[in-house]
């Protein structure tokens, strides 16, 4: 592949095999994520979506295959200190994974403090700026993670993921557990941030609405492979039986008002 062509991809996964014991979860999977796009990943529960995400960020060892993030190969080892791409990504874990003994503000300041040499005043200002960008107010900054609602936890986790202005953010089910209004706001927030900061977003989600509104492309994971990838329109027309069942199933029909 030509280097210029390789440049336009933020994440490249080639021929990836991941399994636990004798069970194969990802079976020779390949996936490319373009720079600056929002890619939604759908798949059955327990079908390996989170495994794929965690393998890309190096949390799960792989059996074979290559992974590149921003043109840098990801080592399969779990030594976090040696992971070369750690500065260029931000990760929003499904449960937030906020540090429970730090306040919200300290959680956002943590990556800044650890990775940059900044004056305290600037750390405070940047952290406040990030919190305000995700729609939190000044008093929220002094709360502890155990005092936050589900939606606020996700916002704080997003602020922390964005603290270092990463090129890529990984979102693991960002809207799960949020009411439709909050989920819609979160989708809009992701879209806005993606446009202002020029982010590449890799999003694992089940939320049909957010797939439809924010994702530039959608990839469907079934049987350990990417069976369909493209715009929402392409996926709706896909002939793959699982993809058809996913997008044309009873639940997605429920979104249409019933004809009386």
């Amino acid at each position: 592949m030509m280097p210029e062509e390789a440049q336009q991809f933020a994440i490249r996964v080639h021929d990836l095999v991941v399994g636990f014991g004798r069970q194969v979860v990802l079976d020779h999977l390949s996936l490319d994520v373009r720079k600056g796009e929002i890619l939604g990943l759908v798949g059955a529960s327990g079908g390996g979506k989170s495994v794929l995400m965690r393998t890309i960020i190096g949390l799960i060892p792989r059996q074979s295959g290559e992974i590149e993030v921003m043109c840098r190969p990801i080592s399969g080892a779990l030594d976090r200190g040696t992971q070369p791409a750690a500065g260029s990504w931000g990760i929003l874990f499904q449960q937030g994974a906020l540090f429970s003994s730090l306040t919200v503000r300290q959680n956002v300041q943590f990556p800044l403090r650890e990775n940059l040499v900044l004056s305290q005043a600037l750390v405070d200002e940047i952290a406040t700026a990030k919190l305000e960008m995700v729609g939190l107010t000044q008093p929220d900054g002094d709360k502890f993670p155990s005092e936050l609602s589900g939606g606020m936890t996700k916002r704080v986790a997003l602020a922390r993921a964005l603290a270092l202005d990463p090129a890529i953010v990984f979102l693991d089910e960002p809207t799960s557990g949020l009411d439709p209004i909050a989920a819609g706001e979160f989708d809009a927030l992701i879209k806005t941030l993606q446009q202002t900061l020029g982010l590449t977003v890799f999003m694992v989600t089940h939320d049909l609405a957010s797939l439809n509104t924010v994702c530039d492309r959608v990839a469907a994971l079934a049987d350990g492979k990417i069976v369909a990838i493209g715009s929402m329109r392409d996926l709706l027309q896909s002939e793959h039986p699982w993809v058809r069942a996913y997008f044309h199933g009873k639940r997605s029909q429920m979104l249409q008002p019933k004809a009386s």
Binding site: E125, A129, T137, T196
Partner: protein, 377 residues
Amino acid sequence: MSSPLLTATATGDGIELRPVGSWTAAHVKSLEALSDGVAAELDRSRSVKLDLAGLSELDTLGAWLIEKLSRRVLAAGHRADVTGIADDYAGLIEEMHQVNRHSSAPIATPNPVLARLGDLGRSASNATEDVAVFLQMLGSLFLVLVGMLRRPRSLRITSLVYQLYKVGWQAIPIMVLITFLIGAIIAQQGFFHFRRFGAESYTVDMVGILVLRELGVLIVAIMVAGRSGSAYTAELGSMKMREEIDALLTMGLDPVEVLILPRVVALVIALPILSFIGSVAALYGGGLIAQFYGDMGPPIYIARLHEAISVTHFEVGIIKAPFMALVIGVVACSEGLRVKGSAESLGRQTTTSVVKSIFLVIVLDGLFAVFFASIGM
């Protein structure tokens, strides 16, 4: 990735600033110096033009520093014009324009004397709360126990047996090892020091009485507090954190009955047995030292032991064991239920649980010593 620059050109009564290059987090050190460097000039000029056309890279940090420059000018009451914003950065600069508008309320520093007094008062009220929590747990255990006597089938046998296996059976090897060593050490010290005035045979009296009355049960209780008490606190604490306790409550079940009673009862059963086994191991350790270090064969050791100790000594020791177990169990479980949401609080309550139960075990031992002395046992 060109290094950032900030050029200032004077234009009449104003100044034109041109940020050039990468204004990103990677260059934060020089960026802070650059923007501080022009501060004095900014304050002097009437109108300021910011031309952003030379920027090659911009992130939140850089955009915020530029926003800070223009805010500084506006705050001084002068004009600031920002021009040459590339389309890519327009959103970010607009975003930065919105943030950090509310100045944070200054944190009031309290009077140090008052703060000290406040801390003192708070710790006094915490101490009374500790007593209240202990009594409350004891009371609810008692209530559940009374209810159990009326409905014996509500006792959770499976859970009780499992806890007994964990805190009793699995603890035997380490308890035997520790008490064996303690018995051996006491005997060795006895022989070493008593030998000087020819009272070696009294070593056996010392080992027998000390182990049966005090050390056997005390060492085992302290070991159990560290081994099983901490486990109880951590288990219940993480159940509390994951809302498992709340789930039990909403199913109409009493966590005291389901979780705490089997644990405490298991301790109350296991601790006397462990102290008995531990005492025997300590006496055995003393016997081995007598043979190999004190030149006193097993028949003489056993005969001396037979003369020196009576059932009373054994009773004094073993009577204390269930009470110590109760204290350890109640402290461990009530501290577990006091865990809040954070990982730090789990660690803190586990430490508190172990420290407090060891302290109370020793206090209890002292009270028993006074009691037995006054009734002549």
